[in-house]
Each structure stands twice: as structure tokens, then as C-alpha cells.
């Protein structure tokens, strides 16, 4: 056992593994590229829908149900299906990952908007804000801490899951897992896993720093409690229960 661990560190320390198109920096860059692309598309889909549903309350039951159903899809199966339907290339696996990433982002956005104190929204409207102003000047800024929580969950999930694209001939840190598996090269597999975990932690730290620096301290102090709740609300099952409770 200790053999595998020392071998893993040897593998990681080997300068040959840190250079060239198959080296760690190149794989890392690919990994981040895929992650960024998935997050970009998923955010562009989830945030507008989440804002709309959160602000109007329309379609929230459908959204929560859909988000739950999408999450139940097996990652590898979905990936294979997309490749079979659309062929090898960058975009089919990316779309498969987008479908898996939209639910937590959508739930986070929706939960963020609905967690804003209704009195604040009522006051904003009574001050004479138009509906768009209510959304972007009152609801959105106060929903940001919760929404950002959903975003961070999404990023972590994508960093971990994007490894599977190596299964269908793309790059990224997942290559080490699949190549290692084929060759029974366990130090390589374990090294790849450590790199992915390390990347996830590093990215989350950066996002946490960003949140601290750029989000209004007023909004954060107000929603300390609701941010705690958001962790649960991004889980569709709980979110569904909340929605049902809110309607009864």
C-alpha cells in the first residue's frame, strides 16, 4: 500500500510528467477550459430562468421537478448518449455536462431570489421601482450571497465531473484516470485524482475570496442564515419540499 503512495509521489515529482502536450500544466489548462465553457453556458441558461421564476413565482413547481429529474441522470450514460447522437468532438460532452450543471445553478438562483425579505421587495415597489428595477436593484443584490453559493457548488461539481470527457478522447486531468486505468498504472490514477481534488480546493478558495471582496457586507450579514439554508435549497428534494410548504 505504502508502495502505491510513494510511487504516486514519484509520479507527481517526475519532471517528464510536467512538460509537453500530455504534461500536467497542459492538462490543467484543458481541464479549466472545459470547466469554464460548461459554467459559461450553464450560467447563461440557468440565471435568467432562475431570476424569472424567483421574481414572478411562475413555473417554480416545474423548475424544481425538472431540476430534480435532470440530476438523477447518470453522467457517463448521458455523455455516451450525446456522443453517439452527435459524434466525437468538443461540444457533445460539454452539452452533456451543461445539462447536469444547470439544476444546481437554477435552484441556487431561484432560492436566492425567493430568500430575499418580502418586505424589502414590497418597499422597493412602493418606493416607485419598476419591476425590472425591483429585480435588479432590490432582489438580485440581496440574493447574490445565496446565488453565489449555488455557483460555487456548481463549479466544484463540474471540476470533478469534467474528468469524464477523457473517456471519449478529450483531454483534461481525467486523461490520467482513464489512461492509468487502461495501463493498470495506479500511481498515475491516484496522481490525477490528487490533482483534480487540489484544483477543486484552489478554485473554491479563489471564489470564496472573490465573494468576500466584492459582495456587499450588508447583504451578506443579512443572509448569513439564508446562505446556510441555501446549501440545502440547492438540493432539489429539499427545494421541492420548501416550495410545497410555501404553497400550502
Amino acid at each position: 500500500m505504502s508502495n502505491v503512495i510513494t510511487d504516486t509521489f514519484d509520479w507527481l515529482a517526475d519532471p517528464a510528467h510536467w512538460a509537453g502536450a500530455a504534461g500536467v500544466p497542459a492538462r490543467l489548462a484543458e481541464h479549466l477550459q472545459y470547466t469554464g465553457l460548461v459554467m459559461l453556458i450553464a450560467t447563461a441558461i440557468a440565471i435568467p430562468i432562475g431570476l424569472y421564476v424567483g421574481h414572478t413565482g411562475r413555473g417554480r413547481v416545474a423548475v424544481v421537478a425538472l431540476a430534480g429529474a435532470l440530476r438523477a441522470l447518470p453522467t457517463l450514460g448521458l455523455l455516451t448518449l450525446f456522443v453517439l447522437l452527435a459524434g466525437i468532438g468538443l461540444m457533445p460532452p460539454i452539452w452533456a455536462l451543461v445539462i447536469l450543471t444547470v439544476p444546481p445553478l437554477l435552484a441556487g438562483t431561484y432560492a436566492g431570489i425567493s430568500s430575499v425579505d418580502r418586505n424589502v421587495v414590497d418597499a422597493a415597489r412602493a418606493m416607485g421601482m419598476t419591476e425590472l428595477q425591483v429585480l435588479f436593484r432590490a432582489e438580485f443584490p440581496n440574493a447574490l450571497p445565496v446565488m453565489f453559493g449555488g455557483f460555487r457548488t456548481g463549479v466544484l461539481q463540474v471540476i470533478a465531473t469534467v474528468s469524464v470527457v477523457a473517456y471519449i478522447n478529450l483531454g483534461g486531468l481525467g486523461r490520467y484516470l482513464f489512461d492509468g486505468l487502461v495501463l493498470s498504472d495506479f500511481p498515475q490514477m491516484l496522481g490525477g485524482s490528487l490533482l483534480i481534488a487540489g484544483l477543486a480546493i484552489a478554485v473554491d478558495l479563489v471564489l470564496a475570496l472573490f465573494q468576500r471582496l466584492f459582495l456587499s457586507p450588508g447583504a451578506s450579514s443579512q443572509s448569513n442564515r439564508s446562505r446556510q439554508a441555501a446549501v440545502d435549497l440547492t438540493d432539489p428534494v429539499t427545494a421541492e419540499a420548501v416550495v410545497k410548504g410555501g404553497m400550502s
Partner: protein, 373 residues
Amino acid sequence: MAEAMIEFQSVTKRYQGGQPAVDDLTMSIDQGAITVFVGPSGCGKTTSLRMINRMVEPTSGTITVGGEDVTSVPAARLRRSMGYVMQSSGLMPHRSVLDNIATVPRLNGVSRTDARRRAQELLEVVGLAPSLGKRYPSQLSGGQQQRVGVARALAADPPVLLMDEPFSAVDPVVRDELQKELLRLQRDLAKTIVFVTHDIDEATVLGDKVAVFGVGGKLAQYAAPEEILRAPANDFVASFVGRDRGFRHLAFSPSDGVTIHEVSTLTPAELEHDGGPPDGNWNDGWKLVVDAGRRPLGWAGPGRATGAGPVMVPGGSLFRKGETLRRALDAALSSPSGLGVAVDAEGRVAGVIQAAEVLAVIEAGRRVRQGAL
């Protein structure tokens, strides 16, 4: 009679299928005065208020403000022309106090610098320290938040202020303070204020006119507070106004006829060497203890020399000269000596008043009114 600023014409609000929340309301609200909507929960007072700025749309009837139908302008613009203060302050948690106050001017297109300067002035107008402007709402007390709420409503200098139970979530002492502050502000600003409360005391203290709403959204009585206390229109109003209405009504009677008597006083230093009441001293040996500036501290009780009682007991409420009969009677009734302490504008002791004499003045006033009928 003051000019009408806001008019309800046969306004009814009915929520889906149910009983009307507001039933055929017709009333006109005076310009530059405080009109209070009061009534039990579910009487439609808040709904009526929220129909003025179209936060609620009436099912039928029309509402005009300054002669213009409220539906003739877009809702958002209409709302910006009226200040709105609500029970929970409704301040934006993510914005500083200053930026909260600046909300409506900013919506009206005033530059950030100008809006903030105006906000800074308003902090002082509502009695808050200028340094609070940089804080966030969650860092303020409930009373301070309500003051910021009032400042925010005043920021665009609207002619109309709508206040929906603004003081009912703060403690009684702070509420009293905020009520006084509102009356002081109103003397300078003379806004048309519509104020909703469920507290009849608050209504009679603040209102130039009071509208009592009954269950089912019907207007039960609309009159000056003094008249509502003196002559409730029906049993509902009488029971809502409550058992103490006779006493409350005294708050509208001047205390001109009440005699202020001399009182023997001593300072705390003199109290130490005071041998107790000499024989035949009037008033059972009670003496008023005052500080060097003749401000009342308490009463020296008759038992002080023999050790039969405490040396000094706290006094009752104070009656400031020129206040109403309600204050005069309360001062006399709450005083341990049976003598109400009257003070002048600077808080110095002017003398004492007796409950029996206050009652005599009340009775004389009643006879005069009776003669006039």
C-alpha cells in the same frame, strides 16, 4: 375647512370571491393634515392606504390625488410622488443608510452626489447622528431603522406621505418618541399624511382627523379625534375606542382653570437635617425634594423622621404648565402625596395641583357644554 388632497369615491376592493376588504368607501382627506385610519385587523385600513399608491388596485370606484385620478399615471411614477413608510422598515440590507435614503431621488434621476448630500441633511432632520449614514440597516436599532424609513420617504420631498403602522414594531418608549418627532416634523413640513394604526391612542395623539374602520371594510366614523372620543357614532366605535375614552378625552381639554398652589420644598442636603413635619404642617408632612435648579427629585414622606417610611419616595408624572387636563389629572393621581407637581417650560417646580380641583374644572367644563346644547 382645509382643501381635499386625496379623495375616495365609492371605492370597493374585493379579493377573489370573498367578502369585500373595503366596502364602498367615500371620503376626502385634507391637505397638509394627518389623517389616521384606525380599526381592528382585517378592517381594510391597510388595503385602503395601499390603494392610494396603487400597491393594491380597487375592484371599483376611483381615487384622486390632487384632483388627478391615480390610474392616469404609470404606477411606478405615482409611487415616486408619495413617501411610503412601513411597519418593518423595509430598508435595503445591501445598501448603506445614506444610499437607502437616496433611493427615490436616484430613481428620479438625481445624481449620486446630490442625492447623498440630501440624504445627509435628512439624517439630521429625523434626529439621527450624521455618522450613522455609512452603516448598514442591520447595524441599527429598530427605532433608528424607522427613522431612516421616514427619512427615505421624505427624500424626494413628496406632498403626500403614506405610513403603514410605522411605529407598531418598536417598544412603547421609542414609539412615544417617534410620535412626538413626527408631530414636530409635521409642524415644519405640513405634508398630507395618511397614517394607519390599530392603536386608538396613537390615532388620537397623531390625527387631525381619525377614520375608524369596522369589520368588513366599512367606514364607521370619520371625525376629529376629540369628537370620536366624546361622541362615538355607534356601539362599534364606542367599544373600539375603549373603556378609558372619558379619561383620554381629557387630552383635548385645556387646563386653564386649574389652580397651581405653593408647595414647601427642600433640597437633599436640607432633607438630611429635616426633623420631620412640625405640628400643623399642611399636607400631612409631605415635602417636595428639589435639586439646586428647583427640578423635582421626589417626595419626602411623612414617616421620614420616625423611620416609619422611606426618607424619599419617587414622584409621579409631571404636569407641564399649559398641558391638557389629562396630564394634570394623571400627575395628581400618580403622585404619592396626592399632589401633582406642576413644572414650567424649563422643568422647574411651579407648584402643585390637586385632583379634586382638576375634577372640579372638568365638571365645570361639562356644565358649560351642557348649557350650550
